[in-house]
Symmetry: C2
Subunit: 301 residues, 2 copies
């Protein structure tokens, strides 16, 4: 069984090959300016865990599909994730100057170029998937369904919807549990759910498989966000009251601010069980996904 | 023969129906926040000429294709055009506060929401095309090719490449004719060329039709931009020297700044001839496109 690290390695190697994100002298698609390539590459290669694309590939493998044919779809998912981080960090949004210890895209390339690097990555994700799909015309219908899943997850009822609501709630100091659920489902869970659904589409999976992966993606995504929120508190300072106070002051809506630490831990437990239950659909084949959700519950970073 | 106004009317009616750009109480796809719908709609309904989507539909009609089946592709082209204007107007880019006499998107909704409205329109363009394509699985291969054309035109070797170069040249005061050609090809011509190519793909057209439409789109797009640059000078002030001086001072690279007024007029003449020549491929069927390019040469606004 392959590990997250194995899949991440496969994704990283392919990301290096995709023309749009390689250096000038290897830029073989058309006439993309070096500056665009460089700025897209800067953020794509900033070194994430490649969680989303790895999960897509692992799902394809679990369903007996062609991992190689799915690889560009996985890379596209990572490009979309990366674009969302670039735009999220912009001065007009969260105004973050550091991400993973490096200056954010707009700090290095300027605000205008960072907006375009984000636009470029989103568009390039579709260019990449469409090129892969056109290379297999005999699978065109499945490819269309897969691309559509990813577009839906990233889109105006998915990730972008979550971002809009997040920004709105921050500016208007809305902090209801309903708003939190909406934001975390859109911003975080959708980009786990829909890449997994895309994997199912690529394999021509049936509705029951699709439903199980959707449920796993939802539970996993919300758990991922809840543990992230928890670590923000527990990881940074022992005096939790103070840190919670800081979060509340900045108006940031998190699981911890909405449910408290104990409430969030109970939520994580519940989501953990739901994720494992969903894997019941794939007996003996879901080791990767069971291990992955276990590791998230116990993560310290 | 339908006119531009006829096609624009068809596009406008359909844009009203597409869930993502309609009012809250008619928003039927999923859970998109009203604010996102409203901000996307604000710019989509700002009242452009609908030139690009109309040309796509006219090309489908000329090639004997199904105009109705192409309609959502046309709407997607307009969404992409609109997103590019929203992002172009942002403070980090051109920092424009007015467009077509109305406050720009970020002035009304704030910078963060305007970034997301643009992201939303780009993503929604793909969601819209993919939904239309999935509704006709028997035409999946042609649909994939069509979506890919549009993605290419909007993408990292097309429109976005032009934007990146434009911003770079403005900041670094680059004003060579080569830079101008690159920028105008990417920023303007590509979003005429590739929607026309998409029309050809939807009709299963042959390589010769594809090549003729590509050439018409290139000549038309560059002519459109050249007459735009010309009107900026001739239209605003009789004292052309002064107006040219202002353009040069602001560092804006235009046909007029690169080739002068007479040079630009000669360029328009040359492009006009090239556009009409390309239509030789479609004898007796290209009335719409011949009229359209004639009207551009003589336009006063």
């Amino acid at each position: 069984m392959k590990t997250l690290k194995d899949y991440a390695g496969i994704v990283n190697r392919r990301l290096e090959e995709i023309p749009a994100v390689v250096e000038e002298n290897r830029c073989v698609i058309g006439e993309m300016p070096w500056l665009l390539s460089q700025s897209m590459r800067y953020s794509v290669s900033a070194g994430g865990k490649r969680l989303r694309p790895s999960m897509l590939l692992a799902a394809v493998e679990m369903l007996g599909g062609d991992v190689n044919a799915a690889l560009d779809f996985a890379c596209a998912v990572e490009m979309i994730h990366t674009y969302s981080l670039i735009h999220d960090d912009l001065p007009g949004m969260d105004n973050d100057t550091l991400r993973r210890g490096r200056p954010t895209n707009h700090v290095v390339f300027g605000e205008g170029q960072a907006i375009l690097a984000g636009d470029g990555l989103l568009n390039c994700a579709f260019e990449t998937m469409l090129a892969a799909a056109c290379a297999r015309p005999e699978r065109a219908a499945d490819s269309l369904l897969a691309i559509r899943e990813i577009a839906t997850g990233a889109g105006v009822t998915g990730m972008i919807a979550g971002q809009v609501m997040d920004l709105y709630c921050e500016h208007n100091r809305v902090s209801t549990p309903e708003a939190l659920d909406y934001i975390q489902y859109g911003k975080t869970a959708c980009m786990f759910i829909y890449p997994l659904r895309a994997a199912a589409r690529l394999c021509g999976a049936d509705e029951a498989d699709l439903a199980a992966l959707t449920e796993y993606g939802r539970a996993f995504g919300l758990l991922f966000q809840a543990t992230d929120d928890l670590l923000d508190v527990v990881g940074t300072q022992d005096d939790m009251g103070k840190t919670l106070g800081k979060d509340a002051e900045s108006g940031k809506l998190t699981c911890v601010s909405a449910y408290g630490i104990d409430g969030t831990r109970a939520l994580v437990e519940r989501l953990h069980r739901q994720a494992l239950d969903a894997l019941g659909r794939f007996p003996g084949r879901a080791g990767f996904f069971a291990d992955l959700v276990d590791s998230m519950v116990n993560r310290t970073k």
